[in-house]
């Protein structure tokens, strides 16, 4: 009897939990993470990982993951929307507040969990869009 198992792939990346920045290899098959392996040549961890970095990855494939944009409907509940509708709604809300309350009425909160590219974009959005420095990240609490 023959069985075929899809080949595994390995991707070198950095742990997404604390600030130590351990290098690890994500082992994937059929577009799912099936294991995490510590990187012995990782400059921060030299082969070590903690219980979170080693095992707490299945949230990535959890059914609770947001897979579609949501907008609040007339009934006050969040409902599924297309990207087109959600982006239009998000944008219009900022424009309305800008027109009604001025450019210091819009604030951005960036994340210590997202890549630097996301943080850079958040500050650029606030600074270019509104000409203010009304941007912070979550490091104060």
């Amino acid at each position: 009897m023959e069985t075929t198992v899809a080949a595994t792939e390995t991707t070198r990346t950095i742990c997404g939990y604390c600030g130590v920045g351990c290098s690890l290899d994500l082992v994937t098959r059929d577009n799912r993470i099936i294991a995490v392996q510590p990187a012995f040549d990782g400059p921060a961890n030299a082969g070590a990982l903690c219980v979170k970095g080693q095992f707490a990855y299945d949230y990535v494939h959890h059914p609770d993951r947001l897979a579609h944009p949501l907008v609040r409907g007339e009934d006050g509940e969040l409902r599924r929307a297309s990207w087109e509708e959600a982006l239009a709604r998000a944008t219009q809300g900022f424009i309305d507040v800008l027109e009604k309350h001025g450019r210091r009425a819009v604030y951005g909160v960036a994340s210590g969990r997202t890549p630097s590219e996301a943080n850079y974009m958040m500050q650029k959005f606030i600074r270019v869009g509104f000409g203010t420095n009304y941007i912070d990240n979550c490091s104060r609490a």
């Binding site: 944009p69 982006l87 998000a90 900022f94 009425a105 590219e117 869009g129 609490a141």
Partner: protein, 534 residues
């Protein structure tokens, strides 16, 4: 951190204060264990008898919020005993004579009266650290999440400046950063006072530089902090864009926070789950998780490392950079038509002096620690080797002050909050990872066995914990990790929302919340009333 992680294996004397490193930064703690195995000595100051305290040669059980008094007492002894580095003080510092005068009254006996640590233990700690050739200080939020967080850090710097413990292998003053990219968030300019690369927004030449780069003149005045913005929601702030932060659960004074976000005209949240914060939004935009995106994280030792996409995101989730680019384009902003994260990172590098020496390709193997001021520069694993950024290291004339709230008849117990090994922050991720969720299924309040008897509590039973802002119900765990008169819980579980209780005050300079100190009352309850939190 002033020094690289590899240096953690090199000190003769390690001084850990306000850091629960074996739980919050476990892999970094393995390096300290290696140093101890080699023969290094370790001093640990912490209100709780954490695992690190059990490993220490000298444990200083300080009262919550009394760090500055301990550190002043240690500085007093170092000066009195002549354990100072005279050459370092003469060539690299300023304000020494004034500091000596300032420290005259800060005796170990005075420090004992505030910290509760016996004066002879304070003497012993000061002499151990002061007499070492290579002394290294490590701290985390136990130092900064106080109304006096700045004074705490300055008091630590005083010790290192007095003893010449900067700029050498196995020394330094080393904050352990808590989140995978909290360093990178600051590096990238997501701060109200700095552009990317920590360039002050109130410097006219920086304003001109970014006006040229961005095609828009940006205010010369600092923006407001998130703390202030939350206070002004519905008053002057009417719209927010929140990316990847569960503000409602992680921030102090939950009721205030929910009220603030609800009073906005417009809230847009970008996240990977429908968090308690996203549930309040008008628009929720689904983002890629860490395993589904390309970019960079900067770690606690300032090392810029590449994050790589390994799997596709669910459904229509998109990378954060793409979502924000779309928002910018649709609002008619120039310079938002990015088709990948590569030009975004390269733009960040071009505009940031500390990243000028690298780009996407050069950062690929994670060998660079900033500052990397020009192409060909090898990066800077160790800061302050020849001189400090501003020339000389300045001594600070800090003093002890009480926490924002202190225990009294109505709220007679200190609550301190923190992390646990098996959960991360508000558990949006670890709470959805099966194996780890079994290791730590619920929150407990850690209470000293003598206190459980005193408050009429039962190990494994339930308690109601109240502060001036609210109350939560939580299961009791009798443990000697907590000292008498102080209880502990983490803020990770949304069904035990500990941050309903906190929020007594903020550091006036950094606006960091005093999450480590909150007077509470603890009472037994027969059985838990079903949670109304969700």
């Amino acid at each position: 951190m002033s020094n690289p992680l590899a240096d953690m294996e090199k000190p003769d004397v390690i001084f850990c204060i306000g850091t629960n490193m074996t739980e919050a930064h476990p892999v970094a703690a393995t390096r300290l264990k290696k140093a101890l195995a080699r023969g290094a000595k370790m001093i640990v100051a912490d209100p709780r008898r954490i695992r690190l305290a059990e490993m220490a040669d000298l444990y200083l059980p300080i009262r919550v919020g009394s760090d500055t008094a301990l550190l002043l007492g240690m500085a007093h002894v170092i000066v009195r005993e002549g354990l100072i580095d005279r050459e370092f003080i003469a060539t690299r510092t300023e304000g020494y004579d004034a500091l000596v005068h300032h420290l005259q009254e800060k005796t170990p006996a005075w420090a004992e009266s505030i910290t509760g640590v016996p004066a002879d233990k304070i003497e012993e700690a000061a002499i151990l650290y002061g007499a070492s050739d290579k002394g290294a200080i490590f701290y985390t939020l136990g130092i900064t999440e106080h109304i006096c967080g700045v004074e705490n850090v300055q008091s630590l710097c005083n010790l290192a400046l007095l003893t010449g413990n900067f700029g050498r292998e196995g020394t330094g003053v080393n904050p352990m950063r808590g989140q995978n990219n909290i360093q990178g968030a600051g590096d990238s300019g997501a701060l109200p006072n700095n552009y990317a690369g920590f360039q002050a927004v109130n410097e006219p030449e920086n304003q001109a530089k970014f006006e040229k780069a961005y095609g828009r003149r940006i205010d010369l005045e600092n923006g407001i902090t998130k703390v202030t913005a939350l206070e002004q929601c519905g008053d002057t702030v009417f719209a927010m864009l929140i990316n990847g932060e569960n503000t409602v659960v992680s921030d102090p004074d939950m009721e205030h926070c929910i009220h603030a976000l609800k009073s906005l005209d417009h809230l847009v949240v970008i996240d990977i789950f429908l968090t308690e914060t996203a549930e309040l939004a008008d628009v929720v935009l689904p983002a890629t998780s860490w395993a589904e995106t390309d970019g960079h994280f900067t770690n606690t030792e300032r090392r810029i490392q590449r994050v790589r996409k390994a799997v596709d995101p669910p459904g229509e989730a998109r990378p954060d950079w793409w979502i924000i680019s779309q928002l910018g384009q649709r609002m008619g902003m120039d310079g938002f038509d990015y088709d990948s994260p590569v030009p975004i990172f390269n733009e960040l590098c071009e505009l940031s002096p500390i990243y000028n020496g690298i780009d996407w390709e050069l950062a690929d193997n994670g060998e660079y620690q900033w500052p990397i001021p020009y192409r060909g520069h090898p990066g800077t694993p160790r800061l302050h080797e020849d001189e400090f950024v501003n020339g000389r290291g300045k001594f600070s004339f800090t003093d002890y002050r009480d926490p924002a709230e202190t225990v009294d008849e109505e709220y007679p117990v200190w609550l301190t909050t923190g992390r646990r090994l098996e959960s991360y922050h508000t558990r949006t991720q670890t709470g959805r990872s099966e194996g780890i969720n079994e290791l730590l299924p619920e929150e407990t309040l850690e209470v000293h066995p003598a206190d459980t008897a005193r408050f009429g509590l039962r190990d494994g039973g339930w308690a109601k914990v109240s502060s001036r802002r609210g109350a939560v119900e939580v299961r009791v765990e009798a443990t000697r990790r907590s000292p008498e008169g102080t209880v502990f819980a983490s803020f990770s579980f949304s069904d035990v929302p500990i941050n309903v209780l906190t929020g007594s005050g903020y550091d006036p300079i950094t606006h960091t919340a005093e999450l480590k100190v909150c007077p509470v009352r603890v009472e037994p309850i027969a059985e838990r009333v079903p949670a109304a939190a969700d």
